[in-house]
């Protein structure tokens, strides 16, 4: 049986794609929609570099048939912020050198952004648990955790909660 049309929302826009039966969201985002910020790491759900948000929740696009997210809202790193208007997490990663090669960065930042939506003031332990599915082979994680802690401390347009002193 052949391909079928799937309609979903990607980074705030409704898109229509033609997908083979078990095409992954990862493959569709990268090859049809130009979202190369969605990385192609292990395809095993083990590295987190393909993480996207589906209705705001982190999921692994390499394990997700695109047909399962028809009608859902998908956010990639390309839609988290704009170059001129970075998400606070993105700005914090820049300020704190939260990356070296950058391959894990999209997944890390999306998970961090989702974490702050759930828990505006996460403990260091909660940050570590949230990031546990995202593998970085360069930095040793400390600058990444520090970047997220800095994003927590920022007021940056986030409603409620006062900034740290």
């Amino acid at each position: 049986m052949g391909s079928a049309i799937v309609i979903l929302e990607v980074d705030g826009r409704e898109v229509e794609v033609l997908a083979s039966p078990l095409a992954t969201l990862q493959a569709v985002l990268r090859t049809q929609l130009g979202r190369t910020g969605v990385k192609d790491g292990c395809r095993q759900g083990g590295c987190g570099s393909c993480t996207v948000l589906v209705d705001g929740e982190p999921m692994l696009s390499c394990l997700l048939p695109v047909r399962d997210v028809a009608g859902r809202r998908v956010t990639t790193i390309e839609g988290l912020g704009a170059e001129a208007d970075l998400h606070p997490v993105q700005a914090a990663f820049l300020d704190h050198n939260g990356f070296q090669c950058g391959y894990c960065t999209p997944g890390m930042e999306l998970v961090a952004a989702a974490l702050l939506e759930h828990d505006p003031r996460p403990s260091r332990e909660a940050i570590g648990e949230a990031l546990s599915g995202n593998v970085c082979r360069c930095t040793g994680y400390l600058p990444i955790v520090e970047a997220i802690e800095a994003a927590v401390a920022q007021p940056a347009g986030r409603e409620g909660g006062s900034p740290d002193a």
Binding site: M1, S20, P21, L22, T24, R43, Q44, G45, G46, G48, T51, V54, E57, P58, M59, L60, C62, L63, L64, P65, R67, D68, V111, G128, E129, A130, S132, G133, N134
Partner: protein
């Protein structure tokens, strides 16, 4: 070989019809966290896949003194069940956030060791599994569901519809030992539930994960402490019996030799948790 059909039934009867029509060759998948890695790697080469994500099996509700968990309820939804700490802890200690947002309770019953932490907790809670077929449903104790490595009681024309957990006032303890603090496969997982009466064990269940071909109850360890005070001698007897009962695998996480030793240690710690006042520590 490529997948020619991805079926997405909208109800359990529709899913059972598809299973009946296309036969046991159909690969059944829910969250995809076990099946998709094998497909991506080319280890599993199904022609037809049945996806249960939209089959309406994701309810999670308390009915009377039972928790009824739909087969495709996510591990994240279980991790939010504050009134069943044993299940909450088992879910929270499973994999990573993104995997928990996808992986399902039903799928956890089919996850090969060292996976199956939630299945281990469900065993300790004496859960039942509702198996649905075109001719009706049957309910089997989870303790009788596993039959061997990657084999279960599930018939070729059946699907797991629901897991039913009796809720009670028993003490519970959960211990998972892995090599990292989070997102770690188990060296060993121990889930225990006990009712104590004046310090004496009236009823106890001890379930082990990553300690055999599938999660199992260490019945001899349970028998070693029923009717006894939960003191050091009783706990030692139970830990010895658990080691005797286990048959762990050697894999990249740990050797069988090491797992046996950790079974002894973590059964002991779980029982010590139970012996403490209040309601047993969750770890």
């Amino acid at each position: 070989m490529t997948v020619t059909d991805y079926f997405q039934p909208r109800s359990l009867p529709e899913a059972l019809d598809l299973l009946g029509t296309h036969g046991p060759e159909l690969l059944v998948m829910a969250g995809g966290t076990v099946a998709m890695p094998l497909i991506n790697e080319g280890i599993s080469l199904p022609r037809q896949v049945l996806g249960l994500r939209h089959a309406g099996l994701d309810r999670l509700e308390r009915v009377g003194d039972e928790l009824r968990i739909g087969a495709t309820a996510t591990l994240s939804s279980l991790a939010a069940q504050d009134d069943v700490p044993l299940l909450r802890e088992a879910a929270r200690r499973t994999a990573s956030w993104a995997v928990r947002n996808m992986g399902t309770v039903g799928g956890n019953l089919f996850t090969p060791p060292p996976g199956g932490d939630v299945a281990t907790a469900l065993l300790a809670l004496d859960a039942r599994v509702v198996l649905a077929g075109r001719r009706g449903e049957r309910s089997v104790p989870l303790a009788g569901f596993f039959t061997g490595f990657l084999t279960t009681e599930l018939g070729p024309d059946e699907l797991v519809a629901e897991v039913v957990v009796p809720l009670g006032a028993a003490r519970t303890a959960f211990r998972k030992f892995g090599r990292k603090a989070a997102n770690t496969p188990a060296v060993v997982t121990v889930a225990t539930v006990a009712t104590l009466d004046g310090g004496v064990v009236r009823e106890v269940r001890i379930a082990l994960g990553a300690a055999g071909p599938h999660p199992f109850r260490a019945v001899a360890a349970e028998q070693a402490i029923v009717g006894r005070a939960l003191d050091d001698a009783a706990i030692t007897a139970a830990a010895d019996a658990a080691v005797e009962a286990c048959d762990p695998l050697t894999d990249a996480v740990a050797s069988a030799w090491y797992r046996r030793r950790m079974v002894r240690l973590f059964v002991r710690r779980a029982l010590e948790d139970l012996a403490r006042p209040a309601s047993g520590r969750e770890a």
